[in-house]
Subunit: 307 residues, 2 copies
């Protein structure tokens, strides 16, 4: 029998992440009641229709009433406004957390609004798909994925430990990280790659000499993987870039530098530079497969290899 970790959990925002959390909490049986709120009436209706949480509330304040854990699962730029809305309704001793992809700016937006008897610890479940909305969630989303736990310096160790147990119950592997380092690491492994994918897809779409039809038809040649990344939720990503501005711009600067060096090698016919670079990047892929972070199946297993 599972132990109840929180009697009541309130999910503010009912998109892919919150929906998956609700389904994973039910699967784990570690929560008494799950309430939920979303700003859009359509999302609330959908959540009710598919029974996504135990009780969908029509205001954020109703949803957080008596909650032990409050999860802010809204776009990064909306965290402060949501916090202001729920602050007066929070019960003493509650823990507020968020699931945003940027940690420092959320901390700065949320903590000044916290009642003195409520704590905050940020988290970042590194899981997602290119789909969004209440119908996109599934209980297995976090299985085997990382959830970074980002406690502020003032955090209470008991809160942090409880949150770690909670995320592990949802299937994730947890790791603690300092908030500045978190934002830099994510700029490298996630934010900048997303921006680049968005850019490449935009370029293809702009080229009048190559038709959209051709781009779509022949996308399997590498471009397809970019389009998946570039299909992620526009609001979420707009906020990520605006809120992780410094780290993203820094990594973009490094990226441009390297790209120009490769561009120059192409222009000058410096095959050795290209070969050495491509050999080095290949070994990184091997590391990822050895670390169990991806399948070694060709083309992600899309190519059907016979037995």
């Amino acid at each position: 029998m599972s132990e109840i970790l929180y009697n009541r959990v309130a999910l503010i925002g009912l998109g892919l992440i919150a929906g998956s959390m609700s389904l994973a909490m039910r699967r784990a049986g570690v929560v008494g009641e799950i309430t939920g709120y979303a700003r859009s009436p359509e999302t609330r209706d959908t959540a009710r229709e598919i029974n996504l949480v135990d009780r969908v509330c029509d205001t954020a304040a109703d949803a957080v009433k008596d909650a032990d854990l409050i999860v802010l699962a809204v776009p990064v730029g909306a965290m402060g406004a949501v916090m202001a809305e729920i602050a007066p309704a929070l019960k003493a001793g509650a823990l507020v957390t968020d699931v945003g992809s940027v940690k420092k700016s959320i901390f700065e937006a949320v903590t000044p609004l916290l009642p003195h008897d409520v704590s905050f610890v940020g988290t970042h479940p590194m899981a997602g798909t290119e789909h969004s909305g209440p119908r996109a969630g599934f209980a297995e989303l976090f299985d085997g994925r990382w959830c970074l736990i980002v406690p502020p310096d003032s955090a209470n160790e008991a809160d942090v430990v409880a949150l770690e147990r909670f995320w592990r119950a949802l299937g994730a592997t947890t790791e603690r990280m300092d908030m500045d380092h978190h934002d830099l690491v994510c700029a490298v492994v996630s934010h900048t790659p997303h921006l680049i994918a968005y850019t490449m897809v935009g370029v293809a779409d702009d080229l009048s000499r190559v038709t959209d039809q051709e781009v779509i038809k022949f996308s399997a040649a590498g471009f397809r993987d970019f389009t998946r990344i570039a299909a992620s939720d526009p609001t979420m990503w707009r906020d990520v870039f605006l809120e992780n501005k410094d780290a993203t711009l820094e990594i973009l600067g490094r990226f441009t530098e390297e790209l120009f060096a490769l561009q120059r090698a192409i222009r000058q016919g410096d095959g050795e530079h290209l070969y050495d670079y491509f050999t080095r990047t290949r070994t990184i892929r091997r590391g990822i497969i050895e670390a169990g972070q991806d399948t070694d199946a060709p083309d992600f297993g899309r190519a059907k290899k016979t037995e």
Copy 2:
């Protein structure tokens, strides 16, 4: 019963593409005998050991002797040298083709060396995985994939039609394309995306403040898809960039322009620009899914959704 399309096919180069062609030819039963040659003795030994082709020859000239169709399946930069080697051994009336990712420079390297009684038609099977070598091949590689047929102006229609039938028998869907347009389309959907993926992976590897360990651990956040692309064969890709220099540099120029505009939007906090851009790229992804070029399964089906 299948009709024999070519009595003897010679594969020059025994990597992923040639190996898959051999297995697909056998599956289709459309070829009498398949000979093969690879420059490296190790590759020839492996090909013999796994019975990749009907007969592995120790020289390219032996392999092409009496062949009706000769497939140049070596890196783009090696096509000219291979052509020079086999030219004296080609039989009158033979058809030479290649499977390189760049078409104009191969045409320019190969055709001046052609005997007057031998024809040339380029092809580009748009299929592959991040694996390479003789053991990487599988018969289904081309199933449902595009194979672009790029005939020179001087091509004989009967040769082109025969080659189209051949590729369709191997599972591919064929389309004819003019060589300059081919090189531009591929610069957009394949070559530039690869260069960008290589660059991003190299940047991540270079950053001393973010450890390789962290990059590998948290790669699922978007970076992983880049590493797959960036794990492709270094020799092949070096040659692609050197041989499709003009189109790649042109698309890279456009890419940099767009990237700078997005970078500026981030720096200036222009959320509307970012949101509009990301919304537009999302629709392109929908087009690709509707065109049947990719799965709609979240995260390429890596996320295990329950029934």
